[in-house]
Amino acid sequence: MPTILSIKDLRKAYDGGFEALKGVSLEIDEGEIIALLGPNGAGKTTLISTVCGITMPTSGSVTVAGFDILRDFRQARSLIGLVPQEIALEPFERVINTVRFSRGLFGKGRKDAAVEDILRRLSLWDKRDSQIRALSGGMKRRVLIAKALAHEPRVLFLDEPTAGVDVELRKDMWEIVEGLRADGVTTILTTHYIEEAEAIADRVGVINKGEILLVEDKDKLMARMGQKQLNVQLTTQLDAVPEALGGYDLTLGDEGWTLIYSYDTKSERTGITKLLTDVAGVGLQLRDVVTRQSSLEDIFVSLVKEPEGSA
């Protein structure tokens, strides 16, 4: 897949001297969904704002499909759609007019069929003549997405699209993003909901204090950093780990009804076969075997956690 968005050593220092981005570099392929995870104030919104032209970079470069965001800002911005974090809409405007406005603003001629398609896709067609102030919060968010899609962008930025959104709408949003991917639209979303990244992203980037800590294929990331636990549930209760099994890193759980074995999925030999043979060897009967993978959340927390001793 060709690279559609290329960010090189992007820095942004605000007037007060606060450095929101400290040399961010990121390459994003066409058609992928990438989730940027990070705590509040990590620089997620500043990164998006800078790429979209809302704030000016202090140094570094950004290109969208080869167009520089400063020198070729017209071509670059025409390719980008932005859904902001805060709901910002003209309260007295009608849904269809505000979407038409966005389309015109991005230099596309009036095309009612395209606007209708977007509104239908976002289940807004029935509300097209409603004033925005009459819509629910979830509907307003849909309007924001419709506005961002009005000019048929190739790259879509979703800045915390599901903050404060109910479960049903969140699922709908994920479906919308999936649908866009089918059309080849690249989606970059920021979130601090780990499950969101886990549910829809192809790659995950972790950003903290203006720096990208890691960008990796989501599955690989979870495989690489993921610790797995094997819970061996027994038919008899144990007081202690049998001596014959002393060679394994085992703990007792569930008041002695379970043996817990932690192992690394990336190592070639996990030792499960041998362990289970030995467990049977000491005469223990297995009731059930459960494995549990550590979630992205565990990985995330371990990445952004302050090293001990530092401030």
Binding site: Y14, D15, C52, G53, I54, T55, M56, F73, R74, Q75, A76, R77, S78, I80, L82, P84, E86, A88, L89, E90, P91, F92, E93, N97, R100, F101, S102, R103, G104, L105, F106, G107, K108, G109, K147
Partner: protein, 253 residues
């Protein structure tokens, strides 16, 4: 030039105007009528003529200017301040448009609205007084330039304003006094000499004088000076807008 964007902004802003068409039009028509009743009929009946023009007719150009200036400022300043206030400015900043195009959309719409209201007032005044326009072309030119330059000025105020109080501050504390003291309701020659001299420092005097000259052929200052003043003011506002565009002042960090 992204004409589609300019027209999108223009249409969007005009839609706001037409959505509130009643209050957009009724209030200037009503207040103008009141001015005619108070100044034209009640007080004006005691004033014969000013420079050969009946007082009722004499105040018409000043009244139009008064309304057009305040309307152009308030429409343009509100037009750009409101997106800043509710946050929709993000869309303008992320769109493939430059600042000049944003200005053309907002200032164009604000100037059109002001002009619309100016024409309505002119029509209203025909019901109250007898007026003839000696130089229709000059009148239209002055009206258009005033609408555009004051809309530009309003746009700058809207960019500058950090809250609604500031949005009202400049029109209320500077523009309204200047317009009232700029000869809307009197000829500068009616003032004592000292105040005549002071009035010459009021830029609005030149605009009203020029506009009145277009109507009646009488003026406080030479028409050339009036043209120079309006051109200078327009140039000044354009310069300020250019500077904002270059620096991103108050809009793009």
């Amino acid at each position: 030039m992204n004409w589609s964007a300019i027209s999108a902004i223009y249409v969007f802003e005009m839609a706001r105007f037409f959505r509130t068409i009643a209050q957009s039009l009724i209030s200037p028509v009503l207040s103008t009528s009141l001015y005619f009743v108070v100044f034209g009929a009640a007080i004006g009946s005691r004033i014969d003529e000013v420079e050969g023009v009946s007082y009722g007719a004499f105040i018409v150009p000043g009244l139009i200017m008064l309304t057009v200036m305040t309307q152009a400022i308030s429409n343009a300043s509100f037009g750009i301040y409101f997106p800043k206030f509710i946050g929709t400015i993000y869309e303008l900043l992320s769109a493939p448009i430059n600042f000049l195009e944003i200005v053309m959309g907002y200032v164009g719409a604000a100037a059109t609205k002001a002009m619309f209201i100016g024409i309505i007032i002119l029509i209203t005044s025909f019901f109250f007084v007898d007026i003839q326009i000696q130089n229709p072309l000059a009148m239209v030119l002055f009206l258009v330039l005033t609408c555009v330059s004051f809309a530009l000025f309003g746009f700058i105020i809207g960019i500058w304003a950090g809250n609604f109080e500031q949005l009202q501050l400049v029109p209320l504390l500077i523009v309204t006094p200047l317009v009232f003291l700029g000869g809307s309701f009197y000829s500068i020659s009616m003032l004592p000499p000292v105040w005549q001299t002071i009035s010459m420092f009021n830029p609005v005097v030149y605009l009203i004088s020029g506009f009145r000259w277009a109507f009646f052929g009488v003026a406080d200052v030479h028409i050339g000076m009036s043209l120079l003043a309006i051109a200078g003011f327009t140039g000044l506002c354009l310069g300020a807008v250019w500077w904002i565009f270059k620096t991103g002042w108050r809009i793009r960090q």
